[in-house]
């Protein structure tokens, strides 16, 4: 009996041990699974948890090595994906400014003139990278005529002046924008709309105009001068919501007007050199006014 009891105990002990081993193995396996489960993202240390450095030297170096290497993120990048309305240039410079400010604050560098200057430079540069630019045409956009005879030159001069006379705005976008800003009445900016329309029509007309071959470069210069003027008007029209773009546009004012002036002078000289004369009743007679301009 005792023997039989022993014989019965053995398989029972084996079964219990096997269950225990399996349970342990299963437990260990589950534990490992828990350990190796992917951690849900947080590999960013918050400000509260991050140990504060006792020295600010690395921060000074970070901001002083030059703005081009500063790894400041573009604040607009992440936001633009979530907003349906695209950010204006002013929005971008605002966010980039605030990003720079917080970085300076975190680095305790508000009082460091070099760091502030670099951050400011960086803010302006990164913001201006996304500024709109005027469209610049090339000679491929100009309709060139092989006929470069006196009659063709004469006809071109008359048509050009007629086009200008028909569409050229008699008001200036910068003047209108200045008035709107002074009075803080941005409804005045609507007066720029005819300026924009006028420039658009002139550009369209000039693109359609057949140009004698020798005058193609002057024509292209005029076209680009007008395109820049259009860009200025459009930029100033948005002064209320996007004044940064308006300021950038205003920066091209002098180049635009110089380009137009130089092109007109060049045309005038060419006409005179090749004996293309306009009688008093013709539109092209306006070229005679240009001769009084001194450079």
């Amino acid at each position: 009996m005792a023997f039989s009891s022993l014989r019965l105990q053995t398989p029972l002990i084996f079964v219990v041990c096997a269950v225990a081993v399996l349970a342990t193995a299963l437990y260990v396996r589950q534990g490992k699974s828990r350990d190796y489960a992917p951690v849900a993202t947080v590999d960013v240390i918050s400000e509260n948890e991050a140990p504060r450095s006792t020295s600010d030297s690395w921060r000074s170096q970070f901001f002083s090595i030059g703005t081009s290497t500063a790894p400041a993120p573009k604040a607009s990048t992440g936001t633009a994906k979530q907003n349906t309305e695209p950010l204006t240039l002013t929005d971008q410079i605002g966010r980039n400014f605030f990003t720079s400010y917080v970085q300076l604050q975190q680095g305790n560098l508000i009082g460091n003139e070099t760091a502030v200057q670099n951050a400011v430079d960086y803010t302006i540069d990164t913001s201006l990278e996304s500024a709109l630019a005027p469209r610049l045409y090339t000679l491929a956009d100009v309709r060139v005529s092989a006929d470069a005879g006196t009659a063709a030159l004469h006809g071109y001069g008359n048509t050009l002046v007629s086009t200008f006379a028909a569409h050229m705005p008699t008001t200036d976008a910068a003047m209108i924008a200045t008035e709107a800003l002074e009075k803080q009445d941005f409804s005045i900016l609507a007066s720029i709309d005819p300026v924009i329309t006028g420039h658009q029509r002139m550009i369209s007309a000039m693109l359609a105009l057949s140009v004698p071959k020798p005058l193609e470069q002057y024509h292209l210069d005029l076209l680009n001068g007008l395109s820049m003027s259009l860009y200025i008007a459009q930029g100033l029209r948005a002064t209320e919501k996007d004044p940064m773009q308006a300021l950038v546009a205003l920066g091209t004012y002098a180049p635009a007007k110089n380009t137009i002036n130089t092109a007109l002078q060049g045309l005038n000289v060419y006409f005179r050199s090749y004996g293309v004369l306009f009688s008093a009743g013709e539109p092209g007679a306006a070229f005679s006014n240009i001769s009084t301009i001194s450079q």
């Binding site: 993120p73 917080v102 630019a133 002046v161 200036d172 300021l247 002098a254 306006a286």
Partner: protein
């Protein structure tokens, strides 16, 4: 006629940029009472007009736009903050903690053991610090538990006994000191500390004001809101009197003129970007007492930003924004300027080739024309040399005494004068005429070639074109003259060649005479 006049006027406006550029600066100059004399459409100097345009319009526009940038940028940042930093910029993983920390630092520094209040008498130092903290932070004191807990831990019992009633622990000197020295009693210490805190706030405000001054007012912006029921008829004396009695001369009030002629009274506050952004942060994060620090800091960076932008646009001229940054980046408009320069270079090349098409054919035609005279002069000069050779030969014989005197006299009086006559009456006049024409042509060629060389070396042909206009005309005329004169030059060459042939024959005869001397003289045979 009216239409033509309009066209001319309009085109003139285009040429001088636009008509408003000329007229409007004058108005502005007068309005501002500027001493500068502004041309009123009579000075058609483009550069002059642009200079005045810059002074009276563009600089002003740039300044006003900069202010608008400041305003709009502040609005944009505030909106961004209000949306909880949509887009989660990586610079700030825990904004609440960051700004709370900043607030904590302000209060903690002031109240800390090492701070300004560190030497307060121990028994009531906690009371004063707590009182200040409560007064300054109001309902949010729980946020400073950590800082205040440290201050509580500083308490010791050295003077407690005295203030607790044990007069022996200090005696009369301690009593006098406690009652007469402010910082040694609870009330004096509180007032003193509170005064200092207000002083620090005042110092900060002064610093902000200095920042405002440095920013030339860029940082400040008046924010005015209409007073409900504050719109009055300015013609109604009763309403005006009532409104003015309420408003008085308060600087916080503003009178807005409406389009319908009424006047609306407004209450105004002067905001800076720093204060607006800081207040919004405070509101969003529910962190009090941070604005003094943050507003000041934000303003200082905003000031630097706007100043830099203004410097780039106004300081750098209205080609503005063309200066690269200190980081070596390419500024925005530099690309535009590069494009313009490329266009200018292409334009210069085009103009250069156009001028070449005028000058080069003129030079070629003149050279062609001159070549006939070169040939003619060469032919006649050859004839002259032949005469001179014969004369030289004869003279050598005349001076040789081995020949008879009569033969030498004959040659001297007959052949030599004949040669001289041929030279002076026929050869030299012809040669002079031909040389004159040759020299004139050479001069024309030299003038055109010099102009051509100047143009080739000029980097800015466009601006000098008016100066070259006369040279172009000279070249065109010279070419026309040369082409027209070619046939005449050819006939002159033929004539010169014919005459040269005759001269050569006559010169040969004299050379033969010299060779046959003295046998071919009438007195031959008679020896000395």
């Amino acid at each position: 006629m009216k239409t033509t006049f309009k066209i001319i006027l309009t085109f003139t406006a285009i040429t001088f940029v636009v008509s408003s550029i000329i007229a409007s600066p004058v108005k502005i100059a007068q309005a501002q009472g500027a001493a500068t004399n502004v041309p009123i459409g009579t000075d058609f100097d483009f550069n002059n007009i642009m200079a005045h345009m810059k002074d009276f319009v563009l600089d002003k526009a740039a300044t006003l736009i900069a202010k608008q940038i400041l305003h709009q940028m502040t609005v944009s940042v505030v909106n961004w903050i209000n949306t909880g930093f949509q887009g989660s910029p990586t610079f700030i993983t825990n904004p609440e903690g960051f700004f709370l920390d900043a607030a904590d630092q302000v209060t903690g520094d002031f109240l800390s053991r090492e701070g300004a209040l560190s030497r307060l008498c121990s028994p009531f130092s906690i009371d004063i610090r707590l009182g200040l903290a409560l007064n300054q932070t109001q309902s949010a004191t729980s946020r400073y538990t950590c800082t205040l807990g440290k201050i509580i831990g500083n308490a010791n019992g050295t003077i407690e006994g005295f203030t607790g009633g044990d007069f022996r622990q200090g005696g009369w000197p301690a009593f006098v000191s406690m009652t007469t020295v402010p910082q040694n009693n609870v009330y004096g210490s509180y007032l003193q500390a509170h005064s200092e805190l207000l002083g620090r706030i005042d110092t900060r405000e002064n610093q902000v004001n200095r920042d405002l001054d440095r920013g030339k007012g860029f940082l400040s912006r008046r924010n005015c809101t209409d007073i409900p029921g504050g719109t009055i008829d300015p013609e109604n004396e009763f309403e005006v009197e009532q409104a003015e009695s309420i408003v008085g001369n308060s600087r916080d009030m503003n009178r807005k003129q409406n389009n319908d002629g009424t006047v609306t009274y407004q209450t105004c506050t002067t905001d800076t970007p720093g204060s607006v952004i800081s207040n919004m942060l405070q509101k969003q994060l529910d962190v009090p007492a941070t604005e003094l620090e943050l507003a000041d800091d934000i303003n200082s960076v905003v000031n630097a930003l706007i100043s830099q932008m203004i410097n780039q646009v106004i300081g750098g001229g209205l080609s503005g924004l063309s200066r690269g940054s200190s980081g070596g980046r390419t500024a925005y408009t530099s690309q535009l300027i590069t494009d313009l320069n490329a266009q200018k270079a292409a334009d210069t090349q085009s103009t250069n080739s156009q001028l070449s098409s005028v000058f080069d054919p003129a030079i070629a035609a003149l050279n062609d024309y001159k070549s006939y005279y070169d040939q003619a002069i060469a032919a006649v000069t050859d004839s002259k040399n032949r005469y001179l050779t014969a004369k030289s030969c004869i003279l050598s014989k005349v001076s040789d005494t081995q020949y008879s005197s009569s033969a030498r006299t004959y040659a001297q009086n007959s052949w030599i004068p004949a040669i001289d006559t041929a030279l002076t009456s026929k050869v030299d006049p012809l040669l002079a005429d031909l040389t004159l024409k040759q020299a004139s042509t050479s001069n024309q060629i030299a003038v055109i070639q010099n102009t051509r060389a100047q143009i080739a070396s000029s980097g800015d042909i466009q601006s000098q074109l008016p100066g070259y206009q006369a040279s172009v005309q000279i070249a065109i005329n010279a070419k026309a003259s040369a082409v027209a004169g070619i046939s005449f030059a050819q006939s002159q060459l033929r004539d010169a060649q014919t005459k040269a042939t005759a001269f050569n024959a006559e010169a040969l005869q004299y050379q033969n005479n010299c060779a046959g001397f003295p046998g071919n003289t009438p007195t031959s045979g008679r020896q000395r």
